[in-house]
Chain length 297, copies 2
Amino acid sequence: MRIREVGPRDGLQNESVQLSVEEKLAWIHQLEEAGLSYIEVSSFVHPKWIPQLADADEVFKKLSRKPGIIYAALVPNERGLERALAAQVDEVSIFLSASEAHNQKNLNHSISETIASQERVIQKATEAGKSVRAYISTAFFCPYAGKTPITDVLKLIERFAKAGVREISIGDTVGQATPNHVEELFKRALAEVPARLLAFHPHDTRGTALANAYAAYMCGITAFDGATGGLGGCPYAPGAAGNVATEDLVYLFEGMNVATGINQEKLAQAATYIEAKVKRALPSHTLRTMPGEEVRG
Amino acid sequence: MRIREVGPRDGLQNESVQLSVEEKLAWIHQLEEAGLSYIEVSSFVHPKWIPQLADADEVFKKLSRKPGIIYAALVPNERGLERALAAQVDEVSIFLSASEAHNQKNLNHSISETIASQERVIQKATEAGKSVRAYISTAFFCPYAGKTPITDVLKLIERFAKAGVREISIGDTVGQATPNHVEELFKRALAEVPARLLAFHPHDTRGTALANAYAAYMCGITAFDGATGGLGGCPYAPGAAGNVATEDLVYLFEGMNVATGINQEKLAQAATYIEAKVKRALPSHTLRTMPGEEVRG
């Protein structure tokens, strides 16, 4: 079981609060101490688009890297890749949508334009000795186009696999998927590529994140993305949950006797830390529990 | 798929707000309009213990019953049964814990004392032409005794089945269960009794409610308990989710193309209504979503 912590990038980019470099480093240190072996630290997108992550170069510079941990960063294009390479990231991640409408709205390009540009990023990153992780977002539903045809997702998986990415993370970006849909997508994908190439990126918007993660796990998927505290949310839907809380994912799998290598108490501390920094109650479930709670009914 | 709405009883008894009889009736009316065919309306427990439900007799008296809907009420003992029969309930529900420690603390009796008393309630209710639903709480974990042995739950299921109850609702009272545990319990139970005798009562304390509901459904369970809005919570763990929100359960199953007979929009209206009445943000997930939401990441 491999848990990918995407909070410092995917979480913070959707929060309105600006954390200092020192606060980010302190949080990342707590994630390391909790046993996370994969941390997406930041994004080398233009600061104009995501000012919360404008300090990516400095965060990487000051990072006290622990052996055995992959420190990754998102790169939107070749310019971003140059910055990421200069910052000595361990892995770069790239991002597109399986829905044409969402890709156009989000990245201002067609899917075919985006993927052509990303193939150049993958090639250059690989030449520089870096592995690449590809996100396919809106892989189940698109807020503009409704249900995403599974064949559209399979085509992108095939293309990324051929281009040599290390892992492809399949995102339920709007949190609308249900377990049967997740099962169908992964079963069909696993007929084409090995399980080690695939990860699942659930969102808990409708409370289905762990049900979907369980369904993906039952198909043979063993890599899952989460953000501490359930950080992220959605800027256009106040109160809506975003990424599944890493600690909820870990609770699910540890409860199923699937070892994650993560210390749940230390992870809860990291979640408590970031919750205080973003100054809002995060949607994490396990963070709300207390030992010795008493219940009726 | 049969959804059992337990909010007016199991939800309200754990809320500190006192609703008027008229407010309860208005909410129940909205639940009827949403298509719920089973509503646990109140409890005939002594008002000293649960003042929020002290008006049970009056609520039943003023209920405008719709044909095809079962209006149920909890009864703690023979005295409660007399009140329930006088109030013309359609079904009575009874309640015990699979954990000796929890039963002792909660009901002030040993399990064997409780079940002996409940067998008399079942017999009298049956003689009066009423069906009986039995709750087995702490069926997975107990806040005092840890993991509940599955054999302890199976013994109670067998005893209730023999006593002639219509349905047995298996409760993850502290919301600590994970899908493998749920699967094991229900597979073993289904080796002893038919699926129509069993229901699952998940709590979403750690975000696992829908994952567990999905696991139970995959075993063949088709009756599930929920409370509109996720009403209930836990008086001893502020902020902790209690019952799974009925609308989250319905979202899960409708998303899987399992028809619940429930109108999701009208159900959301009922949840919005009760959320305003209890004056706190309820833990429902789907209630937080909005049409046309936009997401990044």
